[in-house]
């Protein structure tokens, strides 16, 4: 579904990604793990068009989307939930969800997607008129994911959905991610610091270290890998 080939991205003269390659199979959850500054967020931002690559290809459904503006990429069905739960703080929950369906013109489809989001996150329905800046961290994360689903994406990128959440909420959010993947057949590229949980729910994984992919494989074997265990899984 998504194939990245030799992608190099830099901020000014400094390269954050040195020619990485990875692929995500349709319907799978693939996780990208790595420490701070490894280039995980940079990878997602480049795929969604927020950053322009220096070289390399990003093939989505066989077509190169590298360097396209973000709204063109969203139009093709890629949704990106940015790091740090960036909800529109001055808009209500309802309005945030409506913004997620910004490119959808069909009112019926918007209504249907909204019902699906409320079914997945009943909490959002309870707070539908609340200004989203006043939601709790977990609710904001649910809103950010729900908002991304409103555009009925085919490919979802989640940037550290567990960031700053209590362990119980982390478990709930990860359960939702699996549910969304199974129920909708949605392909997911997940970036996480919480490597243990991410590998638990994903099918395959890549380990990113200072802009290079150092390890890859299916998730169970990565979890057994002694190098991964000592570096990311706490022994």
């Amino acid at each position: 579904m998504l194939e990245i080939k030799n992608l190099t991205v830099g901020y000014g003269a400094i390269n954050a990604l040195h020619g990485i390659s990875l692929s995500v199979a349709p319907g799978s959850i693939v996780t990208l793990i790595g420490s701070n500054g490894a280039g995980k967020t940079t990878t997602l931002k480049t795929v969604s068009g927020l950053l322009k690559p220096k070289s390399g290809e990003i093939l989505y459904e066989g077509k190169n989307i590298a360097g396209l503006p973000p709204h063109e990429i969203v139009r093709r069905g890629l949704a990106h939930v940015p790091e740090g739960r960036m909800v529109f703080a001055n808009l209500s929950v309802l309005e945030n969800l409506e913004m997620g369906a910004y490119l959808v013109r069909d009112k019926k489809q918007i209504r249907a997607e909204m019902d699906a989001v409320f079914a997945a996150f009943p909490r959002l329905q309870e707070r539908v008129q609340q200004i989203s800046g006043t939601l709790s961290g977990g609710e904001q994360q649910m809103l950010a994911i729900g908002r991304a689903l409103m555009g009925r994406p085919k490919f979802l990128m989640l940037d550290e959905p567990s960031l700053g959440l209590a362990p119980l909420l982390v478990a709930a959010i990860f359960a939702k991610i699996v549910e969304i993947n199974r129920a909708r057949g949605l392909t997911i590229l997940l970036v996480e610091q919480n490597a243990n949980r991410a590998l638990e729910i994903s099918h395959a994984g890549y380990v990113l270290e200072t802009g290079r992919i150092t390890l890859s494989g299916d998730s169970p074997s990565l979890r057994q890998n002694p190098q991964v265990r000592s570096a990311y899984l706490g022994g």
Binding site: S48, G49, L50, P69, P70, H71, I73, V74, R75, A79, H80, V81, P82, M86, V87, F88, A89, N90, L91, S92, E95, E98, M99, G100, Y102, L103, Q129, I131, G133, A144, R147, A148, G151
Partner: protein, 326 residues
């Protein structure tokens, strides 16, 4: 606080009818106060349109007086081509001239909007400030519109109907814009540009549209101003004038239409009110004479102090009762 839009169209028509009625009776209003009323209407248009740029979209423009100048000179030059006209023809010409002024200002807005793609915050403020000054200096050096001596506008066509009718239209257009699904994009750009982009919102388009739409209405206000004062000088559209509009937006509460309207009214009346106070010789009910003429000399100092006190005590905006109300 946001305007309730359910009855917005009715409200707009009601406001227009009311404006028309007041215009019929405007002979009976003291001309001094009538002209202050025009100033209020014009300032409402300017503050509400600047609020789209600075408040809702979260950009920072310090060049609103520049857009106003473009509209004022354009409309003035157009109407000066006509001699005496009957009421009906003058209305048509005036409206056409105002729209032309608005369009010219919108073009200027487009030119300023483009740098916003690369600039944010303080840097953007400096660019818009520079733009406003460029307009002023250009007008100062164009001899055909009088240069620094100023330009005389023949027709005093601005009346209550045009001023408050167009103010009502401005409020209606901007309030319905930011409350539409399309218009929420402005607020989304303000709240979080990256998230907005990730939603597929073309943030570039929104930022430039905010400048174009804001400038259009500022241009219309400029046209009204020109035909109210009937004499415009480049100095009247300086940096301090732009600051005055920014103050109205901040005092009213950024992104709060009702608050900004109230602030525009208050800040137009305040200097006049202080002027009035200066003429008072005696406090009613007090036998001793207390001439308040000192108020006249310190009028602008009192005004500035009031602004400082207001900002210290109500940084969220004087009229921001709640962040947003449905």
């Amino acid at each position: 606080m946001n305007l309730n839009l359910r009855h917005a169209k009715t409200g707009l028509l009601g406001a227009l009818a009311l404006c028309f009625l007041v215009t019929l009776f405007s002979k009976f209003i003291n001309p001094y106060w009538l002209y202050i009323l025009y100033d209020i209407g014009i300032n409402i248009i300017l503050a509400v349109s600047l609020n789209l740029i600075n408040g809702y979209t979260g950009q920072f423009s310090l060049g609103h007086a520049g857009f106003m100048a473009v509209g004022a000179y354009t409309a003035g030059v157009i109407t000066n081509q006509f001699g005496q006209l009957n009421a009906f023809a003058s209305g048509g010409v005036f409206l056409g001239a105002l729209l032309a002024g608005g369009l010219m200002a919108a073009v200027a807005g487009l030119l300023v909007g483009i740098p916003t793609l690369r600039l944010k915050g303080d840097y953007l403020a400096i660019v818009t400030l520079g733009f406003g000054e460029i307009i002023r200096v250009i007008l100062q050096n164009v001899d055909s519109v009088g240069g620094a001596r100023g330009y005389s506008v023949m027709h005093g066509w601005t009346n209550f109907f045009w001023t408050f009718g167009l103010a009502a239209v401005t409020v209606y257009v901007i309030a319905s814009l930011v409350n539409s699904t399309y218009g929420r994009g402005f607020i989304a750009v303000h709240d979080d540009e990256i998230a907005a982009e990730a939603m597929g919102i073309n943030t570039t388009k929104y930022k430039v549209s905010a400048f174009v739409i804001g400038a259009f209405f500022a241009g219309i206000a400029g046209g009204l101003y020109a035909h109210s004062k009937q004499y415009i000088t480049p100095g009247g559209f300086g940096f301090m004038q732009s600051i005055a509009f920014v103050v109205m937006v901040i005092l009213g509460g950024m992104g709060n239409t009702v608050g900004v309207i109230l602030a525009a009214i208050l800040l137009t009346l305040l200097p006049e009110g202080l002027r009035f106070l200066a003429g008072v010789q005696q406090i009613p009910g007090v036998a001793k004479m207390y001439p308040l003429s000192w108020v006249g000399d310190t009028r602008m100092i009192i005004y500035s102090l009031l602004l400082i006190v207001l900002m210290l005590t109500r940084p969220q905006g004087l009229f921001a009762f709640k962040k947003r109300q449905r």
